[in-house]
């Protein structure tokens, strides 16, 4: 009996201990008073949800809250409510409660509106409390003092802003890049935080048109780090809320490049004014729609072609390099084509000449049309006298059009045959081959060579013939079924007639 009681006790004690894990730290009397405080209407200032959050805090966090109240960093129930309402995870809450800068700069009674961190988005964005607690620097422990100086964990001592330019820092923003680069250009320092993060941003930036405009011409319209990355709410580029997340990059770049006022006076290498239509064009382009409408993060965005810290417009020679990052097969075929030499002679941007740049539209077989006012035809009549060119383009277009029409027709017929219960697997296999050949043919147009094109188009033409033959076979099979049915019905009908006649005879 005793042994059984002992065993039960041994089991129950740890279970009870585990179940009764709540905090052993009791709130400081001041803190307790704040938690129970009521407003002038007798309503609790700390809401039940905030209270529940407080009750769920671990001992360490409750101790830090006690300490903050004792040291009068938190002086009022409303101030306490502000932290509890954030509902932060324990790790983040610990960072906040250890940070004296945040504790003081969130007290609306002690701070001016300009210096106040609030959780609302109403004050200037760079003083938003919700943003700062999600900041990548803050999360890695580089908090206020990391940039502003001083020691945020020590008692107040205003050694702030000692590392900042003393004067002119509002007017000339060139110092910002140097300021960020103190850490971001130091490989040894950055290694402790993120070993894979590059440290050449400043070097690249200095060489870029942005960098030269800001650092050499001291033109404040040029962007600095904070223009793209933000100030207190900086997030990693992979974070969808980051201003440099792929889907937000067009807006971030467009904030300046689509603004006529900001872009006024900036020119291209040839002296013509820098356009402000890129963002609008990009949104309607095949790339823009893929990224912004379909959410395809593989689609190119501004920095894919222009670079980011070293952002610059690609020169004529670099356009094809940018495109070939993704469209390697097309670029490779183009490089081996006669067009390459001709385009180089005319100094034409290779891909851009036919496809455009920011407003790249979905390609269409009609681009191969040779009539007046059409892409191939117009260019060749003006610049090339080779009599083979126009027939070759016509051959490309006709071959592709035939394969495309055949594929569409066969797909529809195949669906109808499937509904009739016929085996369409062999037809679908041939259609897959045809689709592959069609895709390849469209790519091999970029060889601008009839022989090269023929090598990939021929399997497609064979697939057209095979599919046609299979469809005819399936249709014959269906006819055979119908004839079989008619014969069966005729036989059954005759049997019925014979049975009926026999029945009549018997009943007579």
């Amino acid at each position: 009996m005793k042994t059984r009681a002992l065993l039960v006790g041994l089991i129950l004690i740890p279970v009870a201990a585990f179940a009764a894990e709540p905090s052993s730290v009791s709130p400081d009397p001041k803190l307790a008073a704040m938690l129970d405080a009521k407003d002038e209407n007798g309503k609790p200032i700390i809401t039940p949800e905030q209270r529940a959050y407080f009750d769920g805090l671990n001992d360490n966090l409750k101790g830090l809250l006690n300490q903050a109240v004792q040291k009068e960093r938190i002086t009022r129930p409303q101030h306490l409510a502000l932290f509890l309402a954030l509902g932060l995870r324990p790790q983040k809450m610990e960072l906040v409660l250890q940070n004296n800068c945040i504790l003081c700069h969130t007290d609306s009674e002690a701070q001016s509106a300009e210096d106040l961190f609030t959780p609302t988005s109403n004050p200037p964005a760079h003083m938003n409390l919700k943003e700062i607690v999600d900041d990548v620097h803050f999360r890695h422990g580089v908090s206020c003092a990391g940039c502003h100086g001083g020691d945020a964990t020590a008692d107040m001592g205003h050694a702030f802003v000692k590392e900042w330019p003393e004067s002119n820092r509002e007017k000339n923003r060139a110092w910002v890049v140097q300021f960020c680069a103190r850490c971001h250009s130091d490989p040894a320092f950055m290694h402790d935080f993120n070993p894979s993060l590059p440290t050449d941003q400043l070097a690249k930036f200095k060489d870029s048109p942005h960098g030269r405009t800001l650092l050499e011409k001291h033109d404040d319209r040029a962007p600095s780090c904070v223009s793209c990355h933000g100030v207190h709410g900086i997030r990693p580029a992979k974070d969808p809320l980051s201003k440099v997340y792929a889907q937000r990059v067009p807006e971030t770049c467009g904030a300046c490049h689509a603004d006529a006022k900001i872009m006024a006076g900036f020119t291209r290498a040839d002296g013509s004014p820098l356009p402000i239509t890129q963002l609008a064009e990009y949104r309607t382009s095949v790339h823009g729609r893929a990224l912004l409408e379909r959410g395809d993060l593989g689609a190119p965005v501004c920095n894919t072609c222009h670079g980011n810290h070293a952002a610059s417009p690609p020169g004529v020679a670099q356009v094809s390099r940018s495109c070939s990052l993704c469209h390697s097969a097309n670029a490779s075929l183009f490089d081996g084509s006669k067009h390459k030499q001709a385009f180089d002679q005319h100094n034409w941007p290779e891909c851009g000449k036919c496809h455009g740049n920011h407003a790249i539209a979905k390609t269409h077989d009609s681009m191969l049309a040779t009539g007046p006012g059409q892409l191939c035809g117009d260019c060749h009549r003006q610049y090339a006298n080779n009599p083979d060119c126009i027939p070759t383009a016509d051959y490309f277009r006709d071959t592709i059009a035939k394969m495309d029409a055949a594929r569409n027709n066969f797909s529809a017929v195949s669906e109808r045959l499937a509904a009739k219960g016929l085996d369409i697997e062999p037809i679908n296999n041939q259609l897959t081959d045809l689709t592959d050949a069609l895709k390849k043919s469209r790519t091999y147009v970029h060889s601008f060579s009839r022989n090269t094109f023929q090598q990939v188009a021929m399997p497609g033409e064979q697939a057209v013939q095979s599919t046609d033959s299979l469809i005819q076979k399936a249709q014959e099979e269906y006819k055979y079924r119908q004839i079989g049915l008619a014969a069966s019905i005729a036989v059954i009908g005759l049997l019925m007639l014979a049975t009926y006649l026999k029945l009549r005879q018997l009943e007579k």
């Binding site: 697997e425 079924r481 069966s488 049975t499 029945l503």
Partner: protein, 439 residues
């Protein structure tokens, strides 16, 4: 035996003798099922990696494999249609009167087994639609009070629909159910042969008779040949069924237990009324879960249907029992309204949208009311029926739910209560009225 057949006669009277052929037609379709089922069995391989593939091979590569599967599927549906018609004709003609109570019960059990055939056969191709429909269908069993979870595990061979479920359903479909069916059909036929065809209510002897052999038997054969023609035509021109939900057997994609269930899964058409009735119940009712109450109601309805020969006391005494004729028509209209709404008739498939559901209920109510009106007028003029309380209740429920928009259950309670009050008033005010009723 030969002597027995030679002297056997089928009674002819004032009623249409076409109803007598429905049993034979049902049996014809069953024989087709057995023959095509055995042919399918030669190629079908139950198993995770073989069930779907073997059916696919059968329908695409085996000569006439497509025809065998198509005939098997069509014949299954036609068998259920003829069985339902057979059962309702028996009900309307009161052919369950003594001494034929056990013929009714054996027929009723055959009907349940046929539904079992349909349910178990549906999963065997192991395709996506069958997998999810079986998941939804077997899940209903969970709501059976007390035994729900145990029954579910017995049916599924585990908590989920897996290949173990397929093995169970396969065994049930090709061994257990056929054995039970053949036994019951033998009993059913024995009863019919011993007791003969039922006479119309009140008739002591048939005014005339038809020799079973050869006259009736050859007519049976003629009809079977006509059915074979229809079956072959349907199998060739609509090899995957008419393409309506619950009557579509295109193989589609292989079952994938990890794929998300897609919306709009519906059971076979003969289970649609139960599926719709389940949807009409609230989550909780009378302290029980809604589906539990619904299952109890369905069990009650099936129970009543099984013991109708003993409930119909007037038919028992060979007297007209208009209330039970009306009950049969009311049951048909009740099933029609639920089946039509289960089919989302008029909703354009957007069953999740409240407006579409209301629109569908409205359209289905109009169809049911139209069908009900035709039935009432026909019965009034052709058979001089004057007892329409239960038909009226079924139509009133459809109208209150579909046209007025009140909940299906409340509409049912109001309709049944009003019918009960009307019957009570009639009994008090016209106590002799029942004696004048016909059939």
């Amino acid at each position: 035996m030969f002597e027995f057949l030679r002297h056997k006669e089928v009674p002819l009277g004032s009623h249409w003798m076409g109803w007598y052929y429905l049993g034979g037609i049902t049996m014809f379709f069953f024989v087709v099922q057995v023959i095509t089922g055995v042919l399918l069995l030669m190629y079908y391989q139950p198993g995770e990696a073989t069930a779907y593939e073997s059916i696919r091979f059968l329908t695409t590569k085996v000569p006439f494999g497509w025809l065998i599967r198509s005939v098997h599927s069509w014949s299954a549906h036609l068998m259920i249609i003829s069985l339902v018609l057979h059962m309702f004709s028996t009900m309307m003609l009161k052919a369950y009167r003594p001494p034929r109570e056990l013929t009714w019960v054996s027929g009723y059990l055959l009907f349940l087994l046929t539904l079992g055939f349909g349910f178990s056969g549906y999963l065997l191709p192991w395709n996506k639609l069958a997998y999810f429909a079986t998941t939804v269908g077997t899940n209903i069993v969970r709501s059976v009070p007390l035994l729900g979870n145990w029954l579910l595990e017995v049916m599924r061979g585990g908590q989920d629909v897996t290949i173990n479920t397929l093995y169970r359903f396969f065994a049930a479909h090709v061994v257990i159910l056929p054995l039970a069916f053949v036994g019951l059909i033998a009993m059913h036929l024995l009863f019919i042969q011993r007791q003969g065809m039922a006479l119309p209510v009140g008739a002591k002897t048939a005014p005339r008779g038809m020799k079973f052999f050869p006259s009736f038997a050859l007519r049976d054969v003629l009809l079977w040949m006509a059915c074979l023609m229809v079956l072959a035509t349907l199998a060739v021109f609509l090899p995957y069924g008419p393409g309506i939900p619950g009557m579509d057997w295109e193989l589609g994609q292989k079952a994938d237990p990890f794929a998300p269930a897609y919306p709009g899964i519906k059971p076979e058409w003969y289970f649609l009324w139960e599926y719709q009735l389940l949807k009409e119940f609230p989550p909780h009712l009378f302290g029980l879960e809604g589906p539990q109450v619904c299952l109890l109601l369905i069990a009650l309805l099936f129970g009543i249907w099984a013991i109708i020969p003993w409930l119909d006391r007037r038919a028992f005494r060979d007297k007209p029992s208009p209330a039970f004729s009306d009950l049969g028509w009311a049951a048909i209209l009740f099933l029609v309204y639920l089946t039509l709404t289960g089919w989302d008739i008029g909703a354009g498939g957007a069953s999740s949208d409240l407006a579409a559901i209301q629109h569908s209920a409205r359209v289905c109510a109009w169809w049911t009311l139209a069908a009900g009106a035709v039935v009432v007028v026909f019965r009034f003029l052709r058979y001089e029926h004057r007892w329409f309380f239960l038909t009226g209740a079924a139509l009133l429920q459809a109208a209150l739910h579909g046209l007025v928009g009140i909940s299906y259950l409340l509409a049912g309670v109001i309709s049944v209560a009003l019918a009960a009050v009307a019957i009570a008033i009639r009994r008090v005010l016209f106590p002799q009225a029942n004696e004048k009723d016909v059939t």
